[in-house]
Amino acid sequence: MRRTTGTAEKDGTRGEGPLPAALSVLVGWNGLTLHTPDEWSPVAVSGEGRQGYVKVVGPDTRHLEVKWEQPKGVVNVPQALERYLDRLRKTARRSRMELVVRTKPAGLGRLRPDDQAPIAYTWEAAQKAVGCIWHCGHCGRLVIAEVVGERDDDLSIARSILAGIREHGEDDWITWSLYGLTISAPVGFTMEKQVLMTGRQQFQLRKGGARLQADRWGLAELALRGGSVREWYEARERAALSRYAYRVEETVLRGHRAFRLVGRDRWWQALLKLARVPATLTWPCFFMQGYLWHCEASNRIYALIVEQSRRSTLLESVAARVPCHA
């Protein structure tokens, strides 16, 4: 999740004008990116295959839900919406509520490009929602997104949120962004592990033998009290780093003093990887490169470790796309 203040075009979001200043938080998962107001936080993300789901809740009772799937064959958007509304009606009947649905309501026109065949809708039962369903011909994703709130909530923000959703990455780069850690990885990298702990967010992505790990730690001013970022990192990640023989060089990254780690697997680690080849049928990468830096502006520490082939420029391309501060 990244705080942004740029324009819609710059941030890769659709629409004619700049994003409203209120939509400052970026959430990205497997190519789907969206902007939400400040203080909204993702609470559920799932799906790395043909289906996916993201839920972002606000500090009040409002929340955003996005579901997507990549159906095979011809997609009929009105039928898909009807199927979804039928499910909602069933749920409403069970709780003895009446579901009032309006499709194409006034004020929600031209929410998405016409070639996506978008249908905006609202529903109201115990709660109310403003949503939209569309199909992207480029990536084949059928997306249902809606902002849900209590009956007396103001859902006027829904229009800008729904208009800003991007259902696929750009230029073969996929954005992953949660809780202040935003990275872009080439298409094909899949999320192997995602960790959220107090003050720490980690993504581990993999594509074949290549592995990409990004970490973001908060509370840097407390963590680095009385020590350098390199000492702190090497002490903290001693076990993970013990598998590499590496050297550290000082460099500058995004205006910050950074450390560049260059090395390769130790012989026993390389043997272990080779032993797994018959099972995985994937040739492993034995070379490691990484960046470590402290961003004073955001009070965070970032680490990027890539296991790649010797001549790969993956690390440089990924590091150039990690925004650590606004």
Binding site: Y179, G218, E221
Partner: protein, 163 residues
Amino acid sequence: MEQRRPLPAWRQRAGNWLDRLPVVGPRRAAARITRAEVLQALPFRNERIEWEMKGPEDGQKTDTPVAVLRVPRRQDRLGKILQRIFEAPTHKVVVLDELGTEVWTMCDGATTVDELIRSLARTHKLERREVEVSLTTYLRTLARRGFIGLRLETAGEAAGGRK
């Protein structure tokens, strides 16, 4: 329509007495508190706990002053006997870390949990969600130990509230 089986005769005779046993008695649904209610709750410090701020000049190993709590030990009969036998002090000392101190000083009965979250997120440039998750866990720990209480303000119950 599903009908409930009547209780056996011995169980009816036993009446309410058995209901008091946790294994046999009816399960009581835990009071459900919504997230919105928790965010509007007012944490307040236990008045029986004495506390003061101590810095490096007082022998603390931190650069900034931290809260040192003097928590009274149990004062019931058994507690007094044990205290006499083992010559235990009347209070135990708990030293909070810097973040804990920050939270403790804000538990003044006037700052809501939501305001606490916003303040910590702003001060330390943290994401709201990670503050919310860790702070609620921390407040729960403090409440379980009896260091703080949480007052839930309900509509029309501005004064006093319920604990």
